[in-house]
Structures are given as structure tokens and as C-alpha cells.
Amino acid sequence: MNTTTAIDIRKIREQFPVLHQKVNGKPLIYFDNAATNQKPKQVINALVNYYQGYNANIHRGIHTLAEKATRAYEETRHSMQKFINAKNVEEVIFTRGVTESINLVASSYGRTFLNAGDEVIISELEHHSNIVPWQIICEEKKSILKVIPVTEVGEIDLDAYRKLLSSKTKIVAVNHASNSLGTINPIKEIIKLAHEVGAVILIDGAQAAAHLEIDVQDLDCDFYCISSHKMYGPTGAGILYGKKELLEKMPPYMSGGEMIRDVTFAKTSYNDLPYKFEAGTPNIADVIALNEAINFINTLGKEQIAEHESELLAYASEKLAAIPGLKLIGTAKEKVAVQSFIIEGIHHFDIGQMLDTRGIAVRTGDHCTQPLMDRLGIEGTVRASFSIYNTKSEIDEMIEGLKRIVNFMKP
């Protein structure tokens, strides 16, 4: 089926004010969606409405504004619960995003349950934010960090993973989809295997939330992390999903107001979930606006989003591969709409800069995955990542720009 008949991309684009501008004299083409995607009007308006209409500190106030703000904030928690199909609403903890969520688990769960000689498994595909927190806690607890290798096309080597697993494995942490290569990992299988050896598993869902169906009960994952700004929501907000029985066993990560029940100088008792992990005044405005981002995705439907984005990915990959000297990096069978590439003899910075002169925004560099770049034997890539509001004609523009660069560099 042709997606253009199913969803009207023009109408969707109208909802994104930022797209309607010129950059360096050319209409903006935004292909840096894996870094952060753009925000629809509903999300922006929700921020404005909150600050103009009912800005108040939540949970403890008894006045009308506080009540209204509390209700809106908690509504997002309920929407998020449905969005990921969590069993209990208190399993949704608001954080600043995936990085904080992973740090929370590494610090709280890791510090409590890891012992000397225990093993933590991550993969070569991970973003630095799913590497460094584990390195730090492993060093502290004298635990051992093990790494699942990836294949040439950028897929996790499941056989190698099976071999790494043992009774020593206590935590496995992998992403749902790779930010650098777009690979969608077979997390259901990865989770099942982790559980077979009694390990808990954390999924970094940063690149999945706006594209893939997430059902934490069906997946049976122990922790799942999401960033709002990668799913059409504001920056500085996100969630940690955790199974209730695990979260209850974990000590607080940060302390202060909100996370307490009773405080005396002799002893403090902690609040119930999820507030135990939400110390201090939270990011009220951005969490409230995140609800609109969830609504935006739900209204379109992930299936339709995925269909459009897959079509863009297939189109782009084919056109890119036809450019002389261009090599696609990351050609896994299952992918979100991310395509990395390099062009022989032309530095990725130059390509990014040249495309920018034509108003085209792509990402260049190692994408916070230096170990993956080392594994692939490259310094970095150009990464084009697509979203629901992108079009094939925008891809044509990028291809045209790339051809001009290649022609200039190799006359």
C-alpha cells in the first residue's frame, strides 16, 4: 500500500512550525531525527498553556492551580503506562530521559545487588549512556563488564551472547534500536535468554519510542527507558519503567523533598512508588507536554508511522547506495529509519557541512558510539534519520547535494 494515501504528510507537516523555515536560503530539510525530533504545535501549546494557565508546584499544594497541575502531570503517567502497556501506573517513573534512567538503575539496583565477580553484559551497539554508567558501577563493585559483539551488518551476535551468559550474569543492558545504525534488536529473545540465567535486563528504548510498538509486559523486560524529546516531546523529560517488585527492593537514587514519607533527624522513611524515585520538584511542564506527544503518536498510530518511515528508509538506502564511492554503514535486516553512510575520500564533517549549506540537517561523527565505530574500523559516519514529516522529495534533495559534493571532490 502506498502510505501517501493512508496519511497526508502535508497535513502532518503543518503541525510542525519549525519545519516552515529557510536555512541558508533553502527550505529546511531535517534529517537529524535520531538526535531529537521536532515538536508538533500541540506539544508547544501545552507548554505555553501550563505556564500561562496553571503553573504550580504539584502533589503537596491544596489550591486549585496545584490540583490542576498535579492532575495533568499524573495524566501523563497514565498515558505513558498505556503507551508501554505497564501493569501498574507506579511502575512509570519520570526522569530527565534515558541517560538518567540508566544511571538510576546502575546506581540504585547495581550498587545494591552487584557483587565482586558478578557480570554485566552490554553490546557493541550501545550509546555511551548505556556503557559508561555500567563501567562506573562495575569498577566500584569489582564486577565485570562483558560486551556482546556485533556482526559486519550491525546486528547483535546472538550466539556470542548465549556464550557470554552464565550464572554470574546479573544485569544485561541493550538498546531496542541502535542510534548509529538503526538496527532493531531481537530484544524479546535477548530478554528471555537473560532471564534464563536469572539476570535482570534493561532496555534502552531511546530510538524505539517514536517508531516501534512497546509492550513491556509482553517483552517481560525488567527496566525500559524512554526520552521524551526523541518522541516529539520536550527535552529534559523521560521515563524509567521498572517492574514493581524490583523498584520496591531498590533504594532511592536521589533524596530530598517528594521522595520522603516522614523525616526526623533520627530517621527518614521513604515515600511509595513512584515518588520514592522522584526527589525534588519534577520537570512539571515538560512532563505535561509529553502527554500531547503521546497523543500525537497514538492518533497517527505506530503502524502507520513505521510504514511511512520504512518506505523513506528503503528509498533513501537505495538512492544512497547508487552514489559512487558511498558505503552504507548498518544494513541489518530489521531497522528503524536511520541510515549511516560514508563516502570514500571525503570526510563526514565536510559532507555534513556541505549539506547544511543546502539547508539539510544530518548528523556527523561517532554518534556517541565510539566503541561501535572502532569495531567497524571507521572514525564516524554521516547519519540521516527520518521521521513521519519527512518526504521522498527531501531525500531527493539530499541525494542531489551529495552528488554535487562527490563531483566537486572527484572531478
Binding site: 541558508n24 571525503i346 570526510h347 564533517f349 565536510d350 557541512q353 556541505m354 549549506t357 566537486f408
Partner: protein, 144 residues
């Protein structure tokens, strides 16, 4: 030619591009391609200019009280920018380089497309060239 005369010449050349971003960048890269080749043996860790996003190597020698630079970069645009600086400073006395006021960047609209990360790198390149000039100035003073 004086430092200002060379800068005015550069400003004049770029003005012909009429602010077209793509043409400007192509032109910068073209200038980089014309830069004299730097020997691979000179591309050492010591000769790397710290603070640039791209790799930039810079060496200098002094001849008859004048300073001459050789530079290179792993990216074409940065190499073009290096070539502009070399064009301005080559053959000048250490004193002139140290006092040299660079204004051409603004006039060719460079800030607009170089970005803050690269701008810092650009400042690092200028600083490195002035450090070489300072070293030569001290050397020459000692000889006298």
C-alpha cells in the same frame, strides 16, 4: 603585501560569490586543495592544533626574519580555512603576526557557516600561529 591588504583581497574574492553558501564552501575547499603538500612525517601528534573538531596539523619555519607555515587537515573545509590563514601570515615578520588583527572572517560571512565548534577551532589555529611567531621572535632576539 600587508596583512590587511591580503585580507581585503580575500574579502573581495569572496564578495564575488554573492553570499551563496554552497559556492562559498566549494571555494574554500578549492583553496585548500591548492595548499602546498605537508610531508606525512610532519603530521605528528605534536603538530596537531588542539581545540579543533577536525584534525589540523601546523608547522612553521623562520627564514630571514620571516615566518613560513605549512598546514594540513583531515577535512577539506578546514584545510581551506587553514590555507586562508597561511596566505595571510606567510612571509610576515613574527612581530607583524603577533600584532596582526584578523577581520576577514566576519566580512566573508564565515561565522554564519562555520558554527561555534569550528569557530573555536579557528581561534585555536590563529593562536597556534601566533605562538610560533612568538617563539621565533624570542629566538631572533636571542641571536641579536
Amino acid at each position: 603585501m600587508s596583512i590587511s591588504q591580503i585580507q581585503d583581497e580575500i574579502i573581495n574574492e569572496f564578495s564575488l560569490l554573492d553570499g551563496d553558501m554552497e559556492m562559498t564552501v566549494f571555494y574554500i575547499m578549492e583553496l585548500g586543495q591548492k595548499l602546498p603538500v605537508m610531508n606525512e612525517v610532519d603530521k605528528t601528534e605534536d603538530n596537531i592544533v588542539k581545540g579543533c573538531q577536525s584534525k589540523v596539523w601546523l608547522t612553521a619555519k623562520q627564514n630571514d626574519g620571516k615566518v613560513f607555515f605549512i598546514g594540513d587537515s583531515n577535512t577539506a573545509i578546514t584545510k581551506g580555512l587553514v590555507s586562508l590563514l597561511i596566505r595571510i601570515f606567510n612571509g610576515q615578520s613574527p612581530e607583524t603576526i603577533l600584532k596582526g588583527d584578523l577581520y576577514f572572517m566576519k566580512n566573508i560571512g564565515m561565522e554564519r557557516f562555520i558554527g561555534t565548534q569550528r569557530s573555536n577551532g579557528f581561534a585555536a589555529m590563529i593562536k597556534q600561529m601566533k605562538l610560533y611567531a612568538f617563539a621565533f621572535k624570542t629566538q631572533l632576539a636571542e641571536k641579536e
